[in-house]
Point group: C2
Chain length 253, copies 2
DNA sequence: CGAATATTTGAACTTAATCAACCGAGGTGG
DNA sequence: CCACCTCGGTTGATTAAGTTCAAATATTCG
């Protein structure tokens, strides 16, 4: 559908070269996930986790592979076990907007209609638990509290989406980049990781596609934030927030 | 909270000057709503509509009054019976982003946490059915199919939000305005009204705050669309789509 | 090491914002 | 009734923010 489409299984970009084996190797109930960091985001209580994840199989996606693409039939729901995924929508001429970055514990694919409304792409090596959509929906119908939890998740995402609209519609480049770094930091803390050296598992181009800027502007703005003493770059993908105070001020409310 | 705040009931901007009377006059169960256009958007089946709307009272808001404001405690949920409402988020210096325009049949206030995440403002005279939040949630718990319906609504809104992110992050001014007009037209059709002479019950400034543009750019872009033969302005708030073909092309996929 | 990829920086350019003037409709009060 | 005011809209001139094009540098990975 999208001109950016990469076949999700077969193709030259698959380093393993063994897609069928890959799937077979991962085709085990994803019980292990339950023991990990899912307490934050799984839409079921701890006691139900094993039963819940028994519906899923664990799979691995290499960087730049698509979990699914805009326009695909929405056959699965995914829970990220590790790695970073981005969701995006594209225009026919290649311009695209990344609508979100997802990390371990996040769910993907809950909000589709007849076709997938966006593309989900692995930015790093990604491990997921994949749930057949029909089984997931049956489970949901049988467990109404899951529906309520999903409604909460959807509400949170909606609030985040509105924040992002404010950022895209009204904030300057500096405010956008500062907001982005703070969000990543806060999110790391919410997931129980350290909030200060912030990891950027995405390229400048991907940050640009998320913030409605070009990769050059992202780069220039980072340099400017460094010169202003708000951040320091350990390397291009690890940012130390030297003055969170300054950074929050520059983020504009 | 927001510097744009206007008191929602008392204050000089209230033409009636009788807020208490207003509420008393409207404090009747909103059964009449059920007979109207709510089949599209109410989260309950037709048979349940009378019982559902019995929880609500009908109220009227004059233009520029706030149904609630960013940061308020979320005490109510609203269903619009008539008129136009906009939802917005503001930065402390007054810049704001309108995240959506709502019309008859739409629900407001479903997705709040501890405080309202956005402001809801009447753009025209607005009639609403107002539901106490706690009663609404109790109803929801007792009627699981309502939760499922709300999840669908939230999913739809999420998809719309992602579309808007693409618009704000990556589309040109022309594409934004063209997309906006098409959306309004499609939405009117979905609500069973005519899609062609499109009514704009909002000012150029409000359109700008929705599209991430200034009012001048919105105005210039409209004249440009007129000169290109895509639209015609009957008056400033009624747009005829003379070539929907052209308009859709200019909207950029 | 060397090719490919990612990042930074510079210079020219473009789009939309800003500042400003003007027009027209509607409402108010003398 | 009419002068006046306000508000919303249009249009013009100028400016600024960010994009585009281009080149140099850094990093990664086989």
């Amino acid at each position: 559908m999208s001109i950016l489409r990469t076949p999700p299984v077969a193709g030259t970009a698959d380093p393993s070269g063994l897609p069928a084996n890959r799937v077979a190797a991962g085709a085990l109930p994803c019980n292990t996930c339950a023991a990990r960091q899912f307490s934050i985001c799984a839409p079921v209580s701890d006691a139900d986790l094993p039963h819940f994840f028994a519906m899923s199989v664990k799979l691995r996606f290499e960087p730049r592979r698509y979990l699914f693409d805009e326009g695909d039939a929405p056959r699965y729901v995914f829970s990220i076990a590790s790695g970073t995924v981005c969701l995006s929508k594209a225009l026919s001429d290649g311009r695209r907007q990344i609508t979100g970055f997802l990390f371990a514990g996040d769910f993907i694919g809950l909000a589709h209609g007849e076709t997938c409304a966006y593309t989900a792409e692995a930015l790093t090596p990604v491990e997921v638990c994949r749930f057949p959509r029909d089984r997931f929906e049956r489970y949901m119908t049988e467990h109404p509290h899951v529906e309520r939890r999903l409604l909460q998740i959807a509400s949170t995402e909606l609030a985040a989406a509105q924040d992002q609209m404010l950022l895209l519609g009204r904030k300057t480049a500096t405010e956008r980049v500062a907001s982005f770094l703070i969000r990543l930091s806060d999110r790391a803390v919410a997931h129980g990781r350290s909030g200060n050296p912030v990891c950027l598992p995405m390229t400048r181009a991907e940050i640009g596609d998320y913030l409605g800027l070009t990769l050059e502007t992202v780069s220039r703005t980072m340099t400017q934030l460094r010169k202003r003493g708000a951040i320091d770059l350990d390397n291009t993908s690890v940012v130390r927030l030297t003055s969170e105070e300054t950074l929050r001020r520059l983020a504009g409310v």
